[in-house]
């Protein structure tokens, strides 16, 4: 029954996971994702599914490892510090080719930081917080609706590639309520003949493992993984482009900051400034090609993040020298304001880079160092 209801992001992710056929949830409390754990505590047992409040984030990710090894759709969720603790487990999931959903509702860091929204876990999510060569699809929803939809998709994608998938939200996404249509999802759930457990009935034993001490075997596995990552790159990238055709300046932002940028874009357009928006929906695979393409026509890019600048490296890798890149970022739980972003746009498009931009966290003509 697809009806619009007002749902908190954390609850919507939980409900969507349940509808995606999530068999097992393992979690450990941490703000600002607690409602998701509580939602699963309320609803999984009544459906005869598994909910465990684990003794730690590490136990939770390893319970996911076990459940997934046995063929379950399994998930866990946490925030910053807890996700850092799961890095070994995530690397193991990749190494053992186990599907899983990991939700990170980010908070301000580093360290314990605070519980305000942040996007400073981008590097960790996209470049590899754990050890070894690995990649995961990383979804960065901007609305509660999208959080729900992508949660369902995430389970399918995880199963398709036998690889973990990460859902990256910030405290705003987790805590905010918005109208959501919980759709009659049709999850795509493949057979898992590789799973351990259950009656073997004569089949050869299955092995879930990421170790080999024979020379060259782990390298072979890595080549196989690389082929999977390349397939994800080809197949799983998602990006939204708005008003890019005629844009003199393109805003690049994901998640909550993309909402703010969208509002800024409208205000700018209302002022007659041709501003567009590119919003990566998957931050991995990153829409390098789309950005590269837009940089053929547009000469100014403005990247906005709730961090000191992480995704901007990927934007630079797309745009290279073909356009100027500017930056506005707020770390440690700060939220960019429309006014501050607009100031940069005006500085670039209206004042033609004359005068100074006074807002902290703004860089005109960003270069890496």
């Amino acid at each position: 029954m697809s009806e619009r209801v007002l749902l908190r992001g954390n609850d919507a992710i939980g409900e969507a996971a349940i509808r995606a056929g999530c068999d097992c949830y393992f979690g450990y409390p941490i703000t600002p994702q607690n409602e998701l754990t509580a939602y699963m505590a309320r609803h999984m047992p009544e459906l005869g599914r598994i909910f465990i409040q684990a003794e730690s984030e590490i136990a939770a990710i390893n319970m996911v490892y076990g459940a997934s090894a046995a063929g379950a759709r399994a998930m866990t969720s946490s925030s910053g510090p807890g996700i850092s603790l799961k890095q070994e487990g995530i690397s193991f999931l990749v190494g053992a080719e186990l599907p899983a959903l990991i939700v990170n509702i980010c908070r301000g860091g580093p360290g314990l930081g605070n519980i305000a929204p942040s996007q400073a876990d981008y590097f960790q999510a996209c470049k590899g917080g754990g050890h070894g060569d690995y990649r995961m699809v990383v979804y960065a929803p901007a609305t509660v609706q999208e959080a729900a939809d992508l949660t369902v998709k995430a389970f399918d994608v995880a199963d398709r590639y036998r690889n973990p998938v990460l859902l990256l939200g910030d405290a705003i996404l987790g805590q905010m309520m918005e109208p959501v249509e919980i759709r009659p999802y049709a999850p795509n759930r493949p057979e898992k003949p590789w799973a351990v457990g259950g009656k073997r009935q004569g089949r050869a034993p299955n092995l879930i493992n990421s170790l080999s001490l024979e020379e060259g075997v782990v390298e072979e596995w890595n080549w196989k993984f690389k082929a999977k990552f390349d397939a994800m790159r080809r197949e799983e990238g998602m990006v939204e482009k708005v008003n890019t055709e005629d844009a003199d300046l393109i805003l690049v932002a994901y998640g909550t900051t993309s909402r703010i940028c969208r509002a800024v874009m409208k205000r700018a357009r209302a002022q007659g400034l041709k501003v567009g928006l590119v919003r990566p929906v998957t931050v991995w695979p990153f829409p390098y090609a789309v950005l590269r393409e837009t940089a053929r026509k547009t000469r100014e890019f403005l990247v906005v993040e709730m961090s000191l600048g992480q995704m901007i490296e990927d934007v630079k890798l797309s745009v290279l020298d073909h356009a100027a890149i500017h930056f506005h970022g707020r770390p440690g739980g700060g939220i960019p304001t429309e006014g501050d972003i607009l100031e940069i746009i005006e500085h670039v498009l209206v004042r033609r880079r004359t005068g100074t931009v006074t807002t902290r966290g703004s860089v005109i003509d960003w270069t890496i160092s």
């Binding site: 003794e55 046995a70 009656k199």
Partner: protein, 251 residues
């Protein structure tokens, strides 16, 4: 007069040499586990959880489903499997580094939740796989690469942890025993305790654990017979064999 086979290689054991050193206790314990799985008709239904430790190599020669999680997290992963597939028989095999050091939280909480799994805990008082570092169960005075002059409890290297004594107070623990394999009687006793533990799981009574005192001749720097003696004399003195809990009641 006719003769019958009274002991033979279990069918779960592939026709190739095990990856363990000569005289290693892991072989004895693996053998016992496999014999029981066969005798009790559990083999086809079993997931063997291999730890990070020498016995990670179980998969190379055992004919059962094997799942191998991160170091110390074996009980958590076993929980995931057993909860999702309660019809599966789960043997969670761990060494002393895996269980009593890095995995302390996981074993305590799996036990406390009363997870219906059986933990086979091989206490060889050393980190075998990594080449002989001090384990939480290394005896006072015993040498290892990280306590080259012997474990000095007074110098803050820690007292050896008696795992059965540690876990006995936990509500979810149904069966808890310590045995040794330093002689045939011990091996027979080990098999008996393990059978009880397996039955505990089959009956769904909750968490069961058998701690087996076991030699690691190579990293103890001993011959295999000397190592047996060390188990029989030094280890059993510090770690008294016996049953600690049966059907959830302390004994």
């Amino acid at each position: 007069m006719e003769m019958k086979i009274v002991a033979e290689r279990t069918k779960l054991w592939a026709d190739k040499p095990s990856p363990y050193c000569p005289g290693c206790g892991h072989g004895i314990v693996h053998r016992i586990v496999c014999e029981l799985l066969e005798e009790m008709g559990l083999a086809d239904n079993c997931v063997f959880m291999a730890p990070v430790g020498c016995s990670i190599l179980a998969y190379t020669f055992l004919n059962v489903d094997v799942c191998q999680p991160a170091h110390g997290r074996t009980p958590a992963a076993a929980t995931g499997i057993k909860r999702y597939r309660p019809d599966t028989f789960v043997v969670s095999y761990q060494g002393d580094g895996d269980l009593a050091a890095i995995g302390t939280a996981e074993i305590v909480h799996a036990a406390s939740r009363g997870e219906n799994i059986t933990t086979v805990f091989v206490n060889n008082a050393i980190y075998g796989m990594t080449g002989g570092q001090m384990a939480p169960t290394t005896l006072p005075g015993q040498k290892a690469t990280t306590c080259p002059d012997g474990r000095d409890v007074k110098a803050g290297m820690g007292y050896p942890i008696r795992v059965c004594e540690l876990l006995r107070s936990l509500g979810g623990v149904a069966y808890l025993a310590r045995t040794t394999v330093h002689d045939a009687a011990g091996a027979i006793q080990t098999k008996r305790a393990m059978r009880k533990a397996f039955e505990t799981q089959v009956r769904g009574e909750g968490f069961s654990l058998v701690e087996v005192l076991s030699p690691c001749p190579v990293n103890w720097g001993m011959g295999s017979l000397e190592a047996l003696r060390f188990v029989g004399e030094n280890m059993t003195a510090y770690y008294p064999p016996g049953e600690f809990k049966v059907s959830g009641a302390e004994v």
